[in-house]
């Protein structure tokens, strides 16, 4: 039977299967139990695995993450949800001061096999704080891994890897494409390695790096420039930290040009790091300035403005052309 799933379903399936395999896995957070999450990502988990392993908590992100630290030390593999990535900030101290550092602090006596999941990014015409793309905040913290899938297939495989990883992983789910499309997703477990980007399509003239929901928009842009005889190599970063530097460095050595597209603000966004790495590793191959197309350096606007904020396929296409024609 073909298993054609959207991203919500693929993530749910990964959770279902992994919880079956490993009974030390627990899932908790605000509204993840009875209701199955505000996006229904954890639906039916409580029915299947009971209230001990899947449960709702009081409304307190710091404690959700902080207790997960304790649980992980005490032999469980907690998977906790931040209802939106924009509500992870109350847990920021636990994340940076403990989640990221317990292994190093204890010189390996304690490690934290935990996953923090959150719906992430803009584009669903939501209230303030519900559209955040702040992966750069977390990707800069030593000791954390940050993963952002762009397809149902990847979401399942990456989440399984995240769950099995012995280090803490932030799993940020691009909610804009939660239900945007379905894909064949194999039943049963498979791992997609953390720290490995994916070349979505090879090309000769320019390297475009993106992740999450923006990948689809880049693909649309690529369609638009096809008739202009521009051949794009598209890389889906998939893991933001630790970053797969070789993927785009090797690509740039071939194309000589690179564009990073992300939804987060420009300043100190992940694009900055990618460009710096390209400078370090492929400087002599550069034929045009490494370029960023990103959200603005402003707060993400309320719905009546968000269409301006997220780079559109048209803007991406134009920027690709600009870089290639440089």
């Amino acid at each position: 039977m073909p298993n054609t799933l959207n991203m919500v379903q693929a993530i749910n399936q990964a959770l279902m299967e992994e919880m079956q395999r490993d009974e030390t896995i627990v899932v908790y957070g605000e509204d993840v139990g009875v209701e199955g999450g505000v996006f229904r990502v954890t639906v039916d988990l409580q029915k299947k695995y009971g209230e001990k392993r899947v449960f709702d908590t009081p409304l307190a992100e710091s404690a959700i993450v902080g207790t997960a630290v304790g649980m992980a030390i005490n032999g469980l593999r907690p998977i906790v949800e931040m209802q939106f990535s924009g509500f992870s900030y109350p847990a920021f101290n636990q994340i940076i001061s403990h989640v990221a550092r317990m292994r190093n602090r204890s010189r390996g006596k304690y490690n934290l096999p935990m996953v923090i999941r959150a719906p992430y990014g803009g584009g669903i015409r939501a209230l303030e704080h519900h559209s955040e793309s702040t992966e750069a905040l977390y990707a800069q913290i030593p000791g954390l891994k940050v993963v952002i899938p762009s397809t149902p297939y990847d979401a399942k495989g990456l989440l399984i890897s995240a769950i099995r990883d012995n280090d803490p992983v932030l799993f940020w789910e691009p909610k804009r494409i939660y239900r945007a499309f379905k894909q064949e997703v194999p039943e049963g477990p498979y791992e997609i390695p953390i720290g490995k980007a994916k070349i979505i399509q090879p090309g000769e003239d320019i390297t475009v790096v993106s992740w999450g929901a923006m990948v689809r928009d880049v693909q649309k842009a690529i369609e638009m420039v096809k008739d202009k005889d521009i051949s794009v190599e598209l890389i889906d970063l998939r893991t933001i930290a630790p970053m797969d530097r070789e993927s785009f460095v090797e690509s740039v050595k071939k194309t000589g040009r690179i564009l990073v597209v992300h939804e987060a603000p420009k300043t100190l966004g992940v694009g900055a790091e990618i460009i710096s790495i390209v400078n370090e590793k492929a400087f002599l191959y550069l034929e045009a300035p490494p370029t960023r197309l990103t959200g603005f350096d402003t707060t993400f606007p309320l719905p009546r403005g968000e269409q301006h904020y997220i780079p559109t396929p048209e803007r991406i296409a134009k920027t690709i052309e600009d870089v290639v024609r440089y």
Partner: protein, 59 residues
């Protein structure tokens, strides 16, 4: 690693700094055809200036 004979540009594209590339463009030199004298066959500014002074060789 200091060799400057096995220039990579023979196979394809030149290794060069943005400054050198700009110079080549300004002087109308196809940088991919210049033999680099720098580390790993990097095309140096002098290489470009030299090339610009020579009549273009047969392809």
């Amino acid at each position: 690693k200091e060799g400057n004979s096995a220039s990579e540009n023979v196979a394809g594209k030149a290794l060069a700094t943005p400054v050198a590339r700009k110079l080549a463009k300004d002087l109308g030199v196809d940088i991919n055809k210049v033999v680099g004298s720098g580390p790993n066959g990097r095309v140096m500014k002098e290489d470009i200036i030299k090339a610009s002074k020579q009549p273009s060789e047969a392809e």
